[in-house]
């Protein structure tokens, strides 16, 4: 589903070249819930941004569903993002002038579907994330956890091939983090939704099918998690 070969990303800081990714190769299969982990500054978010077509790599190839997305021009990348990918960001990234339902519906509206159909899909998705009663609220009327659930609903509304989540729990307390992670887990299992998520919290590991560790811009190790129950946050280990 995702094939990455020798992926590089070099930033220019003044005249100094900083290699954020130094030849990463990996593959992610359909239906996997993959975690990308690593220390701060290791390049995990950079990797996610390249995979999610939010940034342009300096070298290497990314194939998503057999399409070499590294060869696409700007318009084609935008279209690919709309049609095939979903995003959940650390800071929720919702449009403040849209209601909860409109925020979720906008990617579907952009696809050219009838408005009623878009709103119906958005409502279904919001009910799934437990916000069926907050459809007409504006985003500032919601808590952080609720906003992140709206963001997840938006990412899923177009039934994308892959959902990319960039530290979605970074701004949430433990309880809300667990809600979000369980939501991801449910979606992954029920809808066979491929999810690629960046995290630096060790207790998140138990939710992932597989973990890709990044250190200094290269893959450090890859670990397949055993099929099992989710873990808990530090100090809250229940089983």
């Amino acid at each position: 589903m995702i094939e990455v070969a020798d992926l590089k990303k070099i930033y220019l800081l003044g005249n100094v070249e900083v290699a954020a990714l130094r030849g990463v190769s990996l593959s992610i299969q359909k239906g996997e819930f993959v975690g990308i982990m690593g220390p701060s500054g290791s390049g995990k978010s950079t990797l996610l941004h390249q995979l999610g077509l939010l940034d342009t790599p300096s070298g290497g190839h990314i194939l998503i569903d057999s399409t070499d997305v590294s060869q696409l021009d700007d318009d084609a990348r935008t279209w690919f993002r709309l049609m095939h990918l979903g995003y959940v960001f650390q800071d929720y990234a919702l449009v403040s002038e849209l209601t909860v339902m409109e925020n979720v519906a906008i990617p579907a509206i952009m696809q050219g579907k009838p408005l009623a159909e878009c709103y119906a899909a958005a409502t279904r998705m919001l009910e799934k994330v437990g916000l069926g009663k907050r459809l007409d609220h504006l985003v500032f009327e919601l808590s952080g956890g609720e906003q992140q659930r709206v963001s997840i609903a938006r990412a899923l509304v177009n039934t994308p091939s892959i959902v990319f989540a960039d530290e979605p729990c970074a701004n949430l307390d433990t309880e809300n983090s667990r809600t979000v992670l369980e939501l991801f887990r449910d979606v992954n299992r029920e809808l066979k939704q491929t999810i690629v998520m960046v995290s630096h919290e060790p207790w998140h590991q138990s939710y992932f099918d597989r973990i890709i560790f990044i250190r200094d811009g290269v893959m450090d190790e890859e670990r397949i998690e055993s099929e099992g129950k989710p873990g808990g946050p530090p100090g809250n280990e229940t089983g």
Partner: protein
Amino acid sequence: MENNGGYGVSLYLAVRAIRRGNRSTLTLTILIIALVMVLMNFLGMIISGVVTLYNDQMIDYQYGHVAIEPRDKEIVIADADALVKRLKQIPGITGVSAHTGTAATITNIKNGKLQSKSLTAFNPEDEQSVTKYQMVITDGDYLSKGDTGQILIGTLLAGNEDESQDKLPSLGGIKVGDRVEVAYSNGVVKTYRVKGIYESLGALIDSSAFVTRSEMDSIMHSGDTATEILVRGSSADDAPALKYTIMSYGVEEKVKTWNEKGKGIMGDAISSFTLIKNIMTFVSLIVASVVVFIVTYINIINRKKQIGILKAIGIRKQIIVGSYLIQVLFQCACGILVGILMLNAISFVLTVNKLRFPMGYITPAVDYSSLAVSIVLLCIVSLVSGYIPARQVVNEEILNAMRG
């Protein structure tokens, strides 16, 4: 790639941004555009008022709709009475009046003040069907057909006893019943009783004097001649058609419309006014473009993160730019609407409290053709000023934009 929501999404986003965005910024922008609209059109409104007033005065007091002048190389129109009769029978003509003019010096016997003027003679009955002197008599009476030894004088020529109150050189305070001495160009001097004083509010018009044609004939022996024949038709706009109708009836004298007669001196003034108006329009447009640019730029910079989000979730750049352009157009349309309301309010206030110009009181008129031009210009300038910052921010890298 074609299967997407297109510019409907721009409208969708724009409507919600307008409904739920910052009301104060929106109101302020609309107000500024409205004021620019007023600035662009106010002078034009005054110029229109001046032109309308000047045209009305030319028609109502000086030329009628069409003026007939002596043929080339002739100084008078011969057989004037016959020509007047012929003209009265032409369809579409509602009034004809022959004028005879001569140079004269008028002296106020009471104080000895004198003024050299062109004294005009007309048949008072014919004149009523062409000009409006009989309607603007402020003191005394209008001339009657058989009047001899009586003169009609304009209020500015009559003047005031206190010279400081005069707007033009005058006879120093003539009143109805006073006597003036008129020295004709042929050397005859005759004393007249002032029968009436009129006031049209036009400076040139109100410094003239009139006697009857029979009175002038008794002095100048002008006989059946006239220096000018004024013709009134159904409307000012039909004057060119009336001119050609008159010519088609075999009138060989020079036939001119009021517009052809009057475009000389006032034409220059209007050209100068128009130049000033164009400069004001240009400056106003620059003000509008700078304001729209700044407001849109600040608006867009504040929403840079949201633009990044929209791009990230797959909204095309053109759609995002489109939504900002729709917002700019909405601001512009509201500004234009408020501006037109303000212009009409100003026009109403100035109609109630009229502006006094040398040719009379101005009733400002909204010139809808220049209004249309300013609307188009304002829309173009606003769109360009909105497009530049929107395009600039939308072209930023997604991650940069999302950092805000």
